[in-house]
């Protein structure tokens, strides 16, 4: 088990190395750099620009800068400074990453809590009105684009006044809040982004849960259990659901990727201070090291998420031995 995790982590490091090289190469295809807007300004002295160029390493070819950047990481764990904010990139990212993680976590919890019971019900009552209705709703949830849903949510919030129309907290009154009020305030701000981001995942999970359950219910051992007189209730929850839920855990890893992509748009619409919005800004500003760091962080989240899904699967399904996958 430990060996497996170690192996996966070192593999992940290699991937991160490759991703960093690829990203660095791609964003350096763009002409010009961060200092362009200062060059256009006649009030800024030329020597300042030259000094800045040298300080930021913009006068060297990209491959040299890349290896200097890499060297900084290996020797000092220094991921570079943001040009825009003049701070080490991780200082800026820290809060943003936590915010995005919080949003993603809430969406995942929301999706599982809603989707699993509904999926079980739909599978149990196959072809009933509930089943048909929920599958149409799932189709709608799967098809509604994040951007559109987020805009609708903001419109709803603005019309009813029930929810804030953006940001993550009440910036005006924040300092006067007690700890409990702060918690409630953030929760209040999180409701709409969570619902928007979680909708597609809920729909997908629900459909999968229903499908898996129906597959399992057709299995021979279910008939055996029924024949020996297990109650319908125990049959459903002890025998069927336990087995049907395992493939969904694998889905968890996949859903992380779409969550991260989806959150970029949701954060943009709801002006939620997360990683996605920061990355979009940084890309426009050609704030290279900040872009690098956020792409790496997003990739790391994805890798860790997939690893977590594998470990969870091994834990929930005793038939899967994690050592086996060493010989893949």
């Amino acid at each position: 088990m430990h060996y497996f995790i170690l192996r996966r982590l070192s593999h992940g490091l290699l991937i991160l190395l490759g991703v960093s090289f690829l990203t660095f190469f791609i964003i350096n295809q763009a002409p010009g750099d961060y200092l362009d807007r200062y060059r256009l300004d006649p009030q800024i002295p030329k020597h300042w620009i030259e000094e800045e160029e040298e300080r930021l390493g913009l006068d060297k070819p990209w491959i040299v800068t890349y290896f200097l950047w890499l060297k900084g990481i290996v020797t000092h764990l220094n991921f570079g400074k943001s040009f825009q904010y003049k701070e080490p990139v991780f200082e800026i990212l820290k809060g943003r990453v936590l915010n995005t993680l919080l949003l993603s976590f809430c969406s995942i919890v929301f999706a599982w809590v809603v989707a699993i019971p509904l999926g079980i019900m739909a599978g149990h009552l196959q072809y009933s009105w509930f089943d048909k209705g929920s599958s149409v709703v799932a189709f709608v949830g799967l098809s509604i684009p994040n951007v559109f849903l987020a805009l609708l949510a903001i419109y709803f919030a603005a019309q009813t006044g029930w929810f804030p129309t953006g940001e993550m907290r009440d910036n005006v009154h924040w300092d006067g809040f007690t700890r409990w009020q702060k918690f409630l305030d953030v929760a209040h701000h999180l409701v709409l982004p969570t619902l928007v981001l979680g909708t597609a995942m809920t729909a997908e999970l629900m459909r999968q849960m229903r499908g898996q359950l129906l597959d399992v219910l057709r299995a021979d051992y279910i008939r055996t259990a029924r024949a020996k007189g297990v109650s319908e209730r125990a049959l459903l929850f002890k025998h069927a659901v336990r087995n049907a839920i395992n493939p969904l855990i694998t889905l968890f890893g996949f859903s992380l990727a779409s969550l991260l992509s989806g959150s970029v748009l949701v954060e943009q619409v709801t002006s939620y201070p997360g990683l996605g919005r920061l990355t979009v800004r940084a890309l426009f500003d050609q704030d290279i090291y900040l872009v690098m760091a956020s792409v790496l962080v997003a990739t790391t989240m994805l890798i860790l998420g997939n690893l977590m899904a594998d470990i969870l699967l091994a834990w929930s399904d005793p038939r899967i031995k994690i050592e086996d996958s060493l010989t893949e």
Partner: protein, 386 residues
């Protein structure tokens, strides 16, 4: 369809696989519905300038005009067979509020003369499906879905935007699938170090969250990058035209998603490449390329068709995301994502919510593709019970 001269088929005559699949598909009401919706959407995009009353880029001073009520009964309660609209006059310049002016009826007429355009890019004509009688003289424009911040007709813009959004899906998926089949086929067939290298590249591409990769690519390939200048043969200081931006976006979207396809195709090729018929082809001296294309890849068509149909929405949404974030299609060309971008300002969103209408079109398109893809999957499933 059987020829009338043929004998009637025996009741248990074997059906060709495609007949079976088509039969199943036609019996699936949801898939049929999806297919029909898509047919209507694509037709309306192809004939966009005939169906739309105005040019999508013509602006007017009626900004953020609400959608018109199509009326049959006038103010005095009199019924008219021909539908008509009333003029909306601006009552509050500051808040851009409109009031209905019932003094005169403007009948809706069909096959009217409007702004000139080229039908299908070929025939010069002015004929448009509908318009307002005497509208041009009185300065009255009909807004079925309202107008945007520049006074442009949203209905016309949505139809024209569909051209971009809908075609990006199809072209993008074609690029992805061809790349995926090629890489997957080569990787699975040759195995060894070719396979190793290709699969590592795939792994790399798949470990970056999609939108981050797309955005990075778009940032790297922005307007004046030397590579694009070389590619499009641009002069110094020249910027990308709208057609070139369109190509760029399709290419980026198509280049991002092929990893997953390549992986699955590789697995399927691995499974069949040692079968007798492939060995036979090899011993008969067929070239590698011929074996891959003629003998191996056809095995994967079922998978490709289903996954392509289900993946088209991802490309449409990719364009929406890019344009929405302001790095996709550029004004004044309409695209669904760019049109949604206007909803970003809270004031516009609350005072003119009809600008969200492109979202409905995106939703319906994605919905229809999902229905059709789901139906196709069931119909092509060899394990399905008749």
């Amino acid at each position: 369809m059987s020829e009338p001269t043929q004998d009637p088929p025996a009741p248990d005559a074997p059906k060709s696989p495609w007949r079976i699949v088509m039969g199943r598909l036609l019996r699936n009401r949801f898939a049929l519905l999806g297919g029909m919706i898509l047919g209507v959407l694509y037709l309306s995009a192809i004939f966009a300038n005939f169906f739309s009353p105005y040019d999508p880029e013509t602006s007017s001073d009626t900004t953020h005009h609400p959608p018109h009520h199509i009326r049959f009964v006038d103010q005095e309660g009199k019924f008219h067979l021909r539908p008509f609209i009333y003029r909306y006059a601006m009552t509050d310049l500051l808040r851009r509020a409109y009031g209905v002016d019932t003094s005169e009826r403007y009948p809706i007429q069909f096959f009217v003369q409007g702004e000139p355009y080229r039908l299908l890019g070929l025939f010069e004509t002015r004929r448009r499906l509908f318009g307002v009688g005497g509208g041009d003289q009185a300065g009255v424009r009909i807004y079925l879905l309202g107008s945007d911040w520049n006074g442009r007709d949203l209905f016309s813009r949505v139809l024209h935007g569909g051209r971009i959004s809908l075609s990006i899906g199809l072209i993008g998926i074609m690029i992805t699938m061809s790349l995926g089949m090629l890489v997957g086929g080569i990787s699975g067939y040759f195995a060894g170090w070719v396979d190793l290298v290709m699969m590592r590249v795939v792994e790399l591409l798949m470990s970056i969250p999609g939108l981050y990769l797309i955005l990075a690519l778009r940032a790297g390939l922005s307007g004046d990058s030397p590579f694009l200048h070389w590619l499009f043969r641009l002069e110094e200081g020249e910027h990308l035209g709208s057609g070139q931006i369109y190509l760029l976006i399709v290419a980026i979207l198509g280049l991002v998603g092929w990893g997953g396809t390549a992986r699955v195709i590789r697995g399927q090729v691995l499974a069949v490449k040692e079968l007798d018929y492939v060995r036979a082809a090899r011993s008969l001296g067929a070239s590698h390329l011929r074996i891959i294309i003629r003998h191996l890849l056809p095995n994967t068509f079922t998978y490709v068709i289903v996954s392509a149909t289900l993946a088209v929405p991802a490309y449409i949404l990719g364009e929406v995301a890019l344009s929405f974030l302001g790095v996709g299609i550029e004004e004044p060309t309409p695209s669904w994502g760019l049109m949604l971008h206007d909803g970003q300002t809270l004031h516009t969103l609350t005072s003119a919510p009809w600008i969200l209408v492109p979202g409905v079109f995106i939703f319906v398109t994605v919905f229809a593709f999902n229905f059709l893809g789901d139906g196709l999957r069931d119909a092509l499933d060899p394990k399905a019970v008749e």
